[in-house]
């Protein structure tokens, strides 16, 4: 017995499958298991094609097509403006990066077996230049820090994860963009369905 699904159910399943495959690809790149995309991509395509075979016949008449095209047009109009604003904000954030202070750290292994660390904050645009030091903190024992030293240490650690934060920011921006686009598109469809 073949169970037929609605077109919207098929769309949701396709999006979920694509997200799962994309997350597997991202994970495999991070971990180095490059065999995973080779298996995951054809498997994902097969799942989507199998679902497509069981989609109920969709009646899309002129009115529905017109409503969808109007909703898509309005969504596109709004997103061209919003996208341009977001792109400029993100780009200005990236090119302003040299204006942020640079934090560097140097780890030293002491004779008594303890580890100390020198954390230095440089003026924007002058990393490593001793004439442009904002402040420098010497942590005598990394395993026994006081509160101030711990704050400096965490700030230094955060600096090393800045690249990851940037990638995350791009991913979250894209995801929020797609979700809000879908919500807006759905809202316009409801509006035009009531209007016509």
């Amino acid at each position: 017995m073949v169970i037929l699904m609605k077109y919207n159910t098929f769309l949701i399943l396709s999006v979920l499958t694509s997200c799962l495959v994309a997350s597997l690809i991202g994970w495999s790149i991070a971990t180095g298991y490059l065999i995973i995309p080779v298996i995951a991509i054809p498997l994902g395509v097969m799942v989507i094609l199998a679902c497509r075979q069981n989609v109920d016949v969709v009646l899309r008449d002129d009115r529905i097509r017109e409503i969808h095209s109007l909703a898509a047009l309005r969504t596109l109009e709004i997103y061209v403006i919003l996208g341009a604003i977001c792109a400029v904000i993100l780009y200005s954030y990236i090119i302003s990066d040299p204006l942020f202070p640079t934090i560097t750290g140097r780890s030293i292994l002491n004779d008594n077996g303890t580890r100390s660390m020198e954390i230095t904050m440089y003026e924007p645009g002058f990393p490593g230049n001793p004439e442009h030091i904002i402040r420098s903190t010497n942590i005598h024992n990394v395993d026994a820090m006081n509160e101030f030293e711990a704050m400096e240490y965490s700030e230094f650690r955060r600096e090393s994860f800045l690249d990851n934060e940037r990638k995350g920011l791009v991913g979250i921006t894209l995801a929020c963009g797609i979700i809000s686009q879908l919500v807006l598109f759905g809202g316009f469809i409801l509006y035009y369905s009531r209007k016509y």
Partner: protein, 74 residues
């Protein structure tokens, strides 16, 4: 655009659902056309006329409005 679909349907004792199935559209489309909220394409217009066995001008009548087109595009 004014239309006589409701009258023609009543004359033929036909439901909106039956008409929608005959011309291959959804029932909501028939409701929208009957309420003059949506202007159908010529293809749908001719199909409706053919179902009732009349000419298209017997189903639809175009009325010029003073302050704009008969059907709102947006």
């Amino acid at each position: 655009m004014k239309n006589r679909i409701k009258v023609l349907r009543a004359e033929c004792d036909m439901t909106q659902e039956a008409l929608a199935q005959l011309i291959g559209v959804t029932r909501n489309t028939i409701i929208s056309i009957e309420k003059d909220k949506y202007c159908p394409s010529m293809k749908i217009g001719f199909r409706i006329a053919r179902v009732f066995g009349v000419g298209i001008e017997d189903v639809f009548a175009y009325e010029e409005e003073k302050d704009g087109p008969a059907c709102d595009d947006n």
